[in-house]
């Protein structure tokens, strides 16, 4: 069974998100900072009249990065009944991947915690990291990690 994935780039790696969870890709909208929130919560933005939180995906995945990317985009995803935006460098493509082609992730891919990864697949000789959005955007346990107070 094949699923379609939206492919985007963060730094040098390619990542994929199941297309059913993607509402769209937007240019980086003006963000309002949320004081006292963890650093991966980049802010909130106005998406056509709704206010949605925007996650800095690199921060969330603990990816090392140098500087803000010009022309960064926001990928809008649905998790459960929530809508959340995530910053990405560029959106590339939509690919179809057969579930048999997906391999379980090695314990650490490019420094990302394995629990955030659904699996990896080869697409046109490049490694595509398929993200587990539920885990990435479930923030109930986050406070313990970030110890906000």
């Amino acid at each position: 069974m094949a699923n379609q994935y939206v492919v985007f780039q963060l730094e040098d790696e390619l990542y994929g998100v199941n297309i059913h969870q993607v509402r769209g890709v937007e240019k980086l909208l003006p963000l309002t900072r949320v004081p006292n929130a963890p650093s991966f919560l980049k802010g909130v933005c106005n998406l056509r009249g709704s206010v949605i939180p925007v996650i800095d995906l690199k921060e969330r995945l603990s990816l090392p990065y140098q500087e803000e990317v010009k022309n960064a985009k926001i990928i809008i995803v649905n998790v459960g009944k929530h809508t959340v935006g995530m910053t990405i460098d560029t959106a590339a493509d939509v690919v179809s991947i057969d579930s048999q082609e997906i391999e379980p992730s090695p314990s650490l891919v490019g420094g990302i915690d394995a629990e955030f990864i659904q699996g990896v697949a080869k697409v046109r000789d490049r490694l595509l990291i398929l993200l587990n959005l539920e885990r990435i955007l479930t923030v109930d346990q986050i406070q313990a990690l970030d110890s906000l107070d």
Binding site: P30, T32, P35, A37, R48
Partner: protein, 662 residues
Amino acid sequence: MDSLDIKSYLPLFIEETKENIQQMSQDLLQLEQDYEDTEAIDNIFRYIHTIKGMSATMGYADISNLTHQAENLLDEVRHHQAKITPGMIDGFFEVVDEIERQLAVLESSGEPGTIGEERVRQILASFSEEEEETLQDQQETSLEEHYRLEIEFSNDCLLKPARAMIVCNQLAGVCSKLETQPPQGSLPTLDSLDKFLCIICTDNPQQVQDILAGGVEIQGFTMDKIQDDPSPAKEEPATSPPPSQTDVVTATGSEEDHGHETDNKPEVSKRVEPHLKNLATIRVDTEKLDQLLNLVSELVINKTSIQQAAAGVPDMADGVEHLHRLTGDLQNIVMNMRMIPLETVFQRFPRMVRDTAHALHKKVQLEIQGAETELDRTIIDDIADPLVHLMRNAVDHGIESGPERLSRGKPEAGKIVLRAYQTGNQVVIEVSDDGYGLDLDRIRAKAHNAGLLNSDESEDSLLTNFIFSPGFTTSENVTDISGRGVGLDVVKNSIESLGGTIEVVSAPNVGTTFRISLPLTLAFIQGLLVACGSETFVIPLSYVQETDIIEPADIQTVGHQQIVMFRGKVLPVVFLAQLMGCAQQTAQEMSLVVVRSGDREVGIISDDLLTQQEIVIKNISWGQRFFKNYLGSTILGDGSVVLILDVNVLLSGVKFREGYDG
């Protein structure tokens, strides 16, 4: 309260009752499939109970009476004293039909019709299984008479012959003889049908009229008694029988009703119009209202950018000005569509409390506070029923009888306070009485008997929660008003489905308070926009006591607490920039916003006060823990998002050093 006020609820009552009977019909159908379906029984019970309560509130005694009788029967089933029978299902459908008919009367005339003792007895008779027997009884005791019926179907009725067949089938049940023109046998072959004539012989003209009046797509009908009928009982020819006259459906006032009985007007025929004018209100899915609101705020934002782009272009000035006014009007309408004051719900209670207290021979004084508190329309719609329950409970169970109150050293008249207020992001509605208070021992015993309780050692706070369990009542008597134990679990379910909570606080001999907290979803508030560095925040105006301009020199430190002297008093202050982690500006002038948080006043110091305006709260559903300091967010005219401070939560995290005012 005069009848005009009640009338303003008529469309709402009709809408809600229609919904209730529709759902009741569905559950009846389900029950017909499985007589043991207790969920369906409970649901039907609730619908009947709600209709009873609402119709009693509106003052429609006949509907209330009918539903009360039906409720009694169903209550026996719920307590396993009776079993569901096919006759009972039919009976309940009869009740549904009768309520539908009454609604049609209300819709057309605005005045309640009368059901009549005869009809109620008849409906109740249909509950018993021995249907043939009751029919026979009726035939033995009453006189049959011949009538000529002329039935006219509405123009938009597509299959008139088929309708006619349905009418024939319905009439066959109440008529011993039925001849039609065109003949029944030829009906299926006909393409069209202008007039439909029937000669019937029946002992129950009233039911014939009811069937026709309630018939779908029947525009009107005439019913004449046939004169050469050998009926010595009737003195006047061509007079419709007296029982039907009390049921005449006209727009005349109810005062004329008693006149009909003595005044045998030779009203030969009458025309009933079951097809009614459209309602002045319609119900709209709030999701659509949400979408509309989102679209309008988006439009406003777009308008702002067009305004900016068009500034200095002379040709566009008029057009932009027009656009500005149109979007402003649109925005106002959309906002007004959603928010209504609780007054619209509270208005009905003075009358209801009065009537209820009167029926129970009690004296009750009602005090209403905060009726101007605004709530989202959806919440207003759904809060009415639970409040009716709570108010009735308060009068019936809460308040003692006059002599008993006097013997307890209380004033003879009981007092019920209905209070609404907004606190933080919640609207609280309280129903308090100064009566008995909850009888914990009785609740304990009941809970024990019902198997809800294992030991006798449950805590009081747990015990009070039992009153929200289905079927739980501590009342000894089932009355017309309350005491069946359906009320409170319905109340709890309704409120929880609104995302709210209900709690009860009670003290013996002091009284009981039910406190309903409702979320302020998509509410509008007046907000004060304050600047903090380059950022903007909203402080809800409801928190704000006063504002002022101060200079850095005004701020003193007492102990470790920063304070300002304000109106001769010591006011502890906090810097918004510090709380929010904004870049602090060192200006010569700063803004002081005095807010009330809990029981203390605190000054919030920001760089500048920008404006005061109406704010649409936009909730952020994801990651609530990160937004606990905020009531939500809002979108300003320029499209930017601004966070709304929840002052209570924000300041609860600030430690004020004691001793500053010592």
